[in-house]
């Protein structure tokens, strides 16, 4: 065994292994670093490569399809015909065209030669003339003039080409050369013009052929597709960036979302299921918001600059404040710029959120800038009134002082100055009076406009069954699942205390006793007068009707009949008027004190004690339907029978009269903010108890109190605004979980009973309620007619006009969706469609109509225009400001300018009047069959408005369009189309015409429009008598009836 050598630490231990290892690691990590640099942190490169290949494949496919489609169009007989015609037209002129072309070519050759020669000669002449001009002496000038003349007389030799290909030698003096050159040029122009004329029809046909191809090929043309394909294949792999300078926006979203703006509509399925490559789902919206101007993140949120990963780009990261909106909340992005829009196209979820915020009474506790703030304005108006009164008083005192000083003044001049000063002050004071009047009117209007979400609780003693009150307060959703009243977390003793306070605090009065009516008739009236546009009947799946107002299935259990009758007759009627100045309800004694009858309504709305504007209406949006007392009682009788159990089946609530509960109840009412939605005596001026939500979406997350759920939320991934709102809305008490709190310290927000869709809508609205990060000019604050539209929507939605009327294209009214109105006969009973109403209605008339829809001071039990409709246009008692907004809204929606200057309507000549009368009474044009005439018997079967309303109501342009094709304006209308046919430039009546029309060359539709818009009651009577005469004496029928009434 050889001796083991000593271990040499230098030679015996090779480092090669570790070095190799380290080297390999180093090399590998270099590769890794390089890979990461070029691909790992640039995932979009892979996206782009994938997009290019998938999109190219898709384009190839489409190209094949489109080529085939184009081929089909080209092979169609129509196309072939035009093609043939084009070819024939071209061939017909071909010999002439080629002759012209030949001649032009010859001319061109000669012109070239002549031009050269002429330009040389002209150069020489021009140079010499310049010499003449600059020569210093007359002699020198003379010399140059002679030279000019010499040059002009010199013969210029040219070799002119001739058509046979050879040349001929010609010589010209300067003037001859010029005129020959001009002559040839003119000839050429003439020939070219001739050529254009010859080819005119062929060119027209070719254009027609190309248009035909374009019109009949659905989708992109193969040529366009080939262009896109080429572009896609050649596209370099690089960051795609939008830079919006003024907003300092850098958006790289399209580095991955490559299909967003492609002209070819791409679906995820087209791209193998990759949604990232799909086109923007709403092209119309994208066209309105060009990404080059708006970027992506102002609408969608996310981090436009980040490209390293999907998570970073989408900003779904703890430290990024604006994470990409989830699909269900995507419309939150609209709110940033569209705060002032209550109804916004393409944003139905957001619209719903805003609607819920107002309708469900969130607004009762939470202020939101721009939402129904009449209360706040009223306070400021009252302050202004006070200031004006002070200023006026000061002016008067100052004026008095000035006069006294004037009397004592030392000089006349000084006296005059002081007197003048006093006079100025008084004139100024009188101007202040005018301002005061306006403000007072305004405060009266504001009092009219203030509405509350819930009913007045001052009236409960006259309105409600006492036993029902605690049942309702304990759990409103149990009693009426669809109610907007939220459920408060109340203990039994709290319920009792609140009930007792409200009961004892309410007005005590005796309402007139009402006899019962006919419930069967009442049901019919309820279903046909229009009640169901807002109210529903039946529960669960059987629910029929609108959701704007209460479901009335069990209303008979809670209300007193007498109160119900008063309410239906005029919901705005109060038992006592309220004086905001004295802050109390007035009693008959207040009126008696001043010797006045206890009368208060919109015409008697000043306080007898101090002259301030009174609240004389219930603050409900429910309008008056102008029903007769009989109709009212019938409906009330029907409603009072709507019950599951008798009113007496509720347990007696003796504690209502327990005075000891009063104070506890009062403090609970204050604590829970009941006055946010209800009118309660003593709480009229109470502020909102909740937090303001205008900017809730940009509140720092740390300030949203997740309480003990913070860790759970972080774990489950909902520690963000969306998660907070969703959980809070589903169960407002959720953040009290596990907390040790006294009852009065617990979260007060009641449970709103929202469906999941509603929670999404409200969450969307709240997420969008942010401090805008986009520059001012992005935000939608128009000051033209679009502003009128914005403002109008707030009023239209406040009173639920869409319950009865269609206002937006594609959005049916509530009535249109109800089972009753699916029947063809009932469909004709639908209130008018208001799309395009601004083009139809004279705005001045509309303002009058909105103020008084009966169009009569005495006969209120009717519709003013469509007397034949069962559904009644109610009286809303709009304030003048609201009427103004509505009128402007409808005019703006139809792009009508304001103020309206009615176009002059050409008076009818005698001949024209005769013709129009003949047409109107002709059996072929039975206008007066369907249109109401004011005669009761006839109007029973009428289903169109009285012509007598037309002159003040209708605009002529619309009336003409209506006559020509009514179905285009209002689909499904009873008015038939095809009454007129086009004959050359004019429209003529399509039926058999009276012989007198043979000599009339005017437009028949225009004639009728002019006649209708100038019709008078006397004229209508004349028409009716003629119609009566036209009937044979044995069967006078209708016409005789009509006559009797006139």
């Amino acid at each position: 065994m050889p001796p083991q050598p000593n271990h040499d630490p230098i030679t015996g231990r090779s480092m090669s292994g570790p070095i190799l290892l380290v080297t390999i690691l180093l090399v590998l990590s270099t590769f890794w670093a390089l890979y990461d640099e070029f691909f790992g942190t640039r995932p979009w490169k892979a996206y782009q490569a994938r997009f290019a290949s998938k999109y190219s494949r898709l384009l190839q496919e489409k190209l094949g399809e489109q080529k085939k489609a184009e081929e089909d169009v080209r092979n169609s007989t129509a196309f072939q015909r035009i093609e043939q015609q084009t070819r024939e037209a071209e061939e017909a002129v071909a010999p002439q065209v080629s002759e012209i072309d030949r001649e032009v070519r010859d001319l061109d050759r000669r012109i070239t030669v002549l031009r050269d020669a002429f330009q040389i000669a002209r150069g020489e002449v021009t140079a010499l003339i310049y010499q003449v001009e600059v020569a210093s002496s007359e002699r020198a000038k003379e010399k140059f003039r002679a030279q000019v003349e010499q040059v002009r007389q010199r013969l210029v030799e040219v070799e002119l080409p001739v058509p046979d290909g050879t040349t001929e030698n010609r010589s010209y003096i300067y003037d001859e050369l010029e005129s020959e050159y001009d002559r040839l040029k003119e000839r050429k122009a003439e020939l070219i013009a001739q050529r254009v004329r010859l080819l005119e029809s062929a060119n027209q046909l070719r254009a027609q052929r190309d248009t035909y191809l374009k019109d009949n090929l659905v989708g992109l043309s193969p040529l366009a597709l080939e262009g896109i394909l080429r572009r896609t294949k050649e596209a370099p792999i690089k960051i795609r960036q939008i830079h919006v300078k003024e907003a300092d926006l850098v958006e790289r979203c399209e580095s991955c979302h490559l299909g967003t703006r492609e002209p070819l509509l791409i679906t995820a399925a087209d791209m193998g299921g990759e949604r990232v490559f799909a086109s923007h789902p709403n092209g119309e919206l994208l066209a309105l918001h060009d990404p080059e101007r708006f970027g992506c993140s102002p609408c969608h949120n996310g981090n436009g600059r980040a490209t390293a990963s999907v998570v970073k780009g989408h900003g779904r990261h703890k430290y990024w404040l604006w994470p990409l909106y989830h699909p269900e909340n995507v419309e939150a992005g609209c709110q940033q710029c569209h705060v002032s829009d209550f109804v916004l196209d393409h944003a139905e979820t957001l619209n719903r959120g805003k609607e819920l915020f107002r309708l469900r009474g969130c607004i009762g506790c939470h202020r939101y800038e721009g939402f129904d703030n009449q209360n706040e304005v009223l306070v400021s108006v009252q302050k202004q009134l006070q200031q004006l009164a002070d200023r006026r008083k000061d002016s008067e005192i100052e004026a008095e002082r000035s006069i006294q000083a004037g009397d004592r003044a030392e000089t006349n001049q000084e006296a005059q100055r002081l007197y003048q000063h006093a006079e100025n002050l008084r004139v100024r004071a009188s101007n202040l009076d005018a301002q005061t009047d306006q403000l007072q009117r305004r405060s009266g209007n504001l009092l009219r406009e203030i509405k509350q979400v819930g009913p007045s609780l001052k009236e409960i003693r006259v309105k409600l069954q006492p036993g029902w009150i605690p049942v309702w307060l304990t759990d409103p959703h149990e009693w009426r699942p669809t109610t907007k009243m939220p459920r408060f977390r109340l203990q039994d003793d709290e319920v009792q205390a609140i009930s007792a306070f409200l009961w004892q605090n309410a007005i005590q009065a005796r309402l007139p006793r009402q006899p019962r009516g006919n419930a069967v008739r009442g049901k019919e009236l309820f279903e046909t007068r229009g009640c169901t546009a807002c109210h529903s009947m039946g529960e669960g799946e059987n629910q029929v009707g609108g959701t704007f107002a209460a479901n009335l299935s069990r209303v008979g259990e809670k209300v007193n009949y007498d109160y119900l009758v008063r309410w239906i007759h005029n919901p705005r009627e109060r038992t006592r008027p309220y004086c905001p100045f004295e802050k109390r309800d007035l009693t008959p004694a207040d009126y008696a004190k001043h010797g006045l009858p206890f009368e208060f309504d919109l015409d008697h709305a000043t306080c007898p004690n101090d002259g301030h504007q009174l609240q004389v209406q219930q603050m409900t949006v429910m309008p008056s339907l102008r029903l007769t007392w009989q109709d009212t009682r019938d409906i009330a009788t029907y409603l009072i029978t709507q019950r599951r159990q008798g009113a007496n089946d509720y347990a007696a609530a003796d504690f209502l009269e327990d005075n000891s509960l009063f104070e506890t109840g009062k403090s609970l009412v204050r604590h829970y903010g009941c006055a946010g939605c209800h009118e309660i005596a003593g709480f009229e001026q109470e502020g909102r108890i909740g937090t303001e939500l205008t900017l809730e979406g940009s509140k720092p997350i740390e300030r949203l109190d997740f309480a003990l759920l913070t860790h759970e939320a972080e774990r489950e991934g909902w520690y963000n605004h969306k998660g907070f709102f969703e959980h809070k809305l589903a169960d407002p008490a959720v953040y009290d979980q596990g907390k040790v709190r006294k009852p009065e310290e617990r979260l007060r927000m009641p449970k709103p009973n929202l469906a999941p869709d509603d929670i999404d809508a409200l969450t969307t609205f709240l997420l969008g309620s942010v401090n805008p990060t986009v520059p001012e000019q992005f935000r939608y604050n128009p000051d033209d007619r679009r502003k009128d539209i914005q403002e109008g929507w707030w009023v239209v939605t406040k009173y639920n006009c869409m319950g009865c009327h269609q206002i937006r294209i594609g959005k049916p009214s509530v009535l249109m969706t109800l089972p009753r109105y699916q029947d063809p006969d009932w469909r004709e009973q639908l209130p008018p469609n208001l799309i395009g109403a601004g083009a139809r209605l004279n705005p001045d008339w509309l303002a009058q109509f909105l103020a008084n829809p009966a169009l009569s001071e005495s006969n209120l039990n009717r519709n003013g225009v469509r007397t034949y409709l069962q559904a009644r246009m109610p009286t809303f008692n709009f304030s003048p400001g609201e009427i103004r907004k509505l009128v402007r809204f409808f005019q703006a929606l139809s792009s009508q300018p304001l103020p309206y200057v009615p176009p002059k309507i050409e008076p009818l000549s005698d001949q024209e009047r005769t013709l129009a009368r003949q047409l109107f009474t002709h059996p072929a044009a039975p206008c007066l069959r369907c249109h109401a005439t004011g005669d009761a018997v006839h109007d029973r079967t009428a289903n169109a408005p009285n012509f007598l309303t037309a002159p003040e109501r209708l605009k002529p342009d619309w009336t003409r369009r209506w006559l020509l094709d009514p179905a285009r304006i209002s689909p499904g209308t009873a008015m038939p189309s095809g009454l007129f046919r086009q004959e050359g430039e004019r429209w003529v009546f399509a039926g058999p015409l009276p012989p007198t029309f043979r000599n009339y060359s005017g437009d028949h539709a225009n004639l009728l429009v002019r006649y209708m818009l100038q019709i008078t009651p006397a004229e209508q009577r004349l028409l009716l008598s003629r119609m009566a005469r036209a009937s044979s004496p044995s069967t006078v029928g209708l016409a005789a009836n009509l006559l009797k009434s006139h």
């Binding site: 890979y35 072929a924 044009a925 689909p971 008015m975 038939p976 189309s977 029928g1037």
Partner: protein, 260 residues
Amino acid sequence: MNLRNIAAFASLFLLLLVIGCGSAEQPAEETAATEAAPAAEPIDPATAATISGKVSFEGTAPRRRRIRMDAEVACAQMHSGPVYSENFVLNDNGTLRNAFVYVKSGLEGRSFPTPPDAVVLDQKGCMYTPHVVGAMVGQTVRVLNSDQTTHNVHPVPKNNREWNRSQAPGANAIEATFARDEIMIPVKCNVHPWMKSYIGVLKHPYFAVTGEDGTFEIGNLPPGDYTLGVWHESLGSSEMQISVAAQESKTVDFVLEKAG
């Protein structure tokens, strides 16, 4: 030993790298199988079956509604006696007139040629004749006006396109087609609110309207299982399952009751 480990490690690393590089996954191609519609088989007259029967009524007949057309002199003159609404016409033998009987299902997948001749709907004496009529999808419906007054013809369909055209006395017939099947399309005249007619539009020719004897017959029907439907303006709809063998002549009766 160490080196081998390292090498193994390194190759694993490289392998991962390679996998990483090629990670652009290819999603599976979608295989969208388009179901081809079964081709239309021609009806073999040798095997064709016939269904016939009657539609009768049970219960107390409602009172007939009198139509007052005094207002329309031209029409009133065309009737000698009183005119009654045709919404409920009970024949003397207790059967119903104007019931629409049709094959509701069982013919899916077959296609039938559109008949070249038009279905005629006349307006005579301010009444539609016939009151109930059937047509095939795409078949021309020709509406005539035999009255000396202007009508408007206003079908109010749910699934088809609605139109409303005025038709003066002596004007050309209005010709229309309906593109989709629908039971039933009400047709009305807004000038004369009592005028009403119903058109049943089907994809096949297997329908019939009961007449004065309340019977119907649907022939040339390929053997098979069908749902036979009946529709009546005032009494609503009803249906029954039926199967017919080749060349079979089957008799089925419908009994409609007053609703409610």
